[in-house]
């Protein structure tokens, strides 16, 4: 069975080389997840439409393909601003994306759901009550242990207010909202923190108690762009602490958000990007909010970007993009001792063209990396070929 699965997922590899001539025309942002029955769900975009697809054979073919928004609208669908998908406990499909508005750097966070297994989606709606023509983008989406939805995003309302009052304000704020009725309504949004980074995705992960935690790039002092860890309660006030201490100073846009995965013992495994003293690095560490992370080590350096990670028991996987003059490699390092030690880096796929950022999906204690070189979706197995 395992051999068959490997064959299935390795099948579409040949397509990866077809797309070099395509140009960077089609946005490649996507998200992927696997439900308890082993169906793979993928969300991406086709022009002004968000598309949800279901595969019953681990990404080789798609048995269902549904346009979420039949009425098209502009969509941020690249890089750190890609559509997101999460599953509810009763088979609900939840989708969010950011919609560019007319002025530069503006956007609204949009939401839609399907309660009939992806056959139909509700008309999209805007998650936040604030409708100012400013940044509400870089949405992230998660479902907590009780089935509540959490949506977090980057929001510039406080920057706007400070600018009008001629007060200094660095970056943007981070906000979130939640829904306790399967996305029928969202609570008025609440601020997570002021003065955070304005261009990096927010990582969300479920803690053992079922609640959702966030890990995102914040700003400390004079444009030190380290990361914050925050609990995002449904009701109540988020608890926010500094969680990385790289001291990377940049008055600019890193465009590199972190990833977070929390194991059943509560260990917060994380990866993040920084470029202190001109040295770009992806770092792994176990977060100790308020203090520097433990078991920190450099995963990769020059040319490495957009890492994701996953955890299952003591097994921890890290995947990232490794660029070279010859093309793009999808790299992997794994740990079998809960993140204390990791294997050497290993390329598990490559392409001469572009791909959306890698995303882990877990199924039956196995990890797969969702990837779409040239828009051709595939699941890449993480097991070394014998």
């Amino acid at each position: 069975m395992r051999a068959m699965l490997l064959l299935l997922v390795l099948g579409p590899a040949a397509h990866a080389h077809d797309m070099a001539a395509m140009g960077n025309e089609a946005p490649l942002g996507f998200d992927a997840t696997i439900d308890n029955a082993g169906h793979l769900w993928v969300v991406d975009t086709v022009g002004e439409h968000v598309r949800v697809r279901r595969s019953d054979d681990m990404g080789r073919d798609f048995a269902l393909s549904t346009i979420v928004n039949p009425t098209g609208e502009p969509i941020y669908a690249e890089g750190e601003n890609r559509p997101k998908m999460a599953l509810g406990p009763k088979g609900e499909l939840y989708v969010t994306w950011s919609q560019p508005r007319k002025a530069p750097w503006t956007g609204f966070v949009r939401f839609s759901r399907s309660l009939d297994g992806g056959a139909h989606f509700d008309a999209p709606k805007t998650v936040h009550a604030d409708r100012a023509e400013i940044t509400h983008r870089f949405d992230s989406l998660a479902v907590d242990g009780k089935g509540n939805l959490i949506v977090a995003w980057i929001d510039k309302r406080d920057l706007e207010a400070a600018t009008k009052a001629h007060k200094p304000y660095l970056g943007a704020a981070t906000y979130y909202s939640w829904s306790t009725d399967r996305g029928a309504t969202f609570a008025p949004e609440q601020k997570i923190t002021d003065q955070s980074c304005e261009c990096c995705r927010i990582a969300l992960a479920r803690a053992p108690d079922g609640r959702i935690d966030a890990f995102f790039r914040a700003i400390y002092g004079d444009n030190i762009r380290d990361h914050a860890f925050a609990t995002l309660p449904v009701g109540g006030t988020p608890a926010v602490s500094r969680a990385t201490f790289t001291q990377w100073h940049i008055e600019g846009c890193p465009h590199h958000g972190p990833s977070l995965a929390i194991d059943t013992a509560g260990t917060r495994h994380a990866v993040w990007f920084s470029a202190v003293d001109g040295k770009p690095e992806i770092t792994y560490g176990q977060l100790q909010p308020g203090k520097p992370p433990v078991h920190a080590f450099t995963v990769a350096g020059n040319g490495a970007s957009h890492a994701d990670l996953a955890v299952d028991g003591k097994h921890v996987w890290i995947a990232w993009h490794q660029m070279s003059a010859n093309g793009l490699q999808l790299m992997l390092r794994e740990s079998n001792d809960g993140g204390i030690t990791f294997s050497e880096p290993r390329a598990i796929a490559n392409t001469t063209g572009p791909s959306g950022w890698p995303r882990f999906v877990l199924h039956d204690h196995r990890a797969f990396v969702a990837w779409n070189p040239g828009g051709q979706f595939r699941l890449v197995a993480t097991e070394a070929l014998q």
Partner: protein, 152 residues
Amino acid sequence: MKRLLVGAAILFAPAAFAAVPQPLDSASVPALVAPPAKGSKVLALWSLDCAYCEENLASLRTYQRQHPDMTLIYVATDPMREREALEARLKQARLDDVPSRAYADATPDRLNFLIDPTWGGETPRTLVIHADGSRKAFSGALTAERIAKLVP
């Protein structure tokens, strides 16, 4: 009225050396990063989605006016299909008199790497290449003082 119209025409006329963004593909990167015959070449890497970039482009342009031996080139990491938006942004900021490039490659991250392997794609990024082939780079918006330290 006529005078007003003439005034408006001068105000909105393109600058004398208005440069529309020219495509940059991987094959043209070696020429772009080749050391200049003399002085320094400064590549100002920016993008439409970067709120810090315009001020960086403007600071470098101001510095260049006092340092004519510095070659300045704006390189947008946005694809050529955004050419009109790039042109409009530069024109609005009165920075459209600087030679300008925009990405024209299937893999933008590859161009990033070819231009500067120590660059993670963060913007603004300023890459200084001297006549002797030595390089200096800085990520983030530059002040006049920082430019003076970085460029000479």
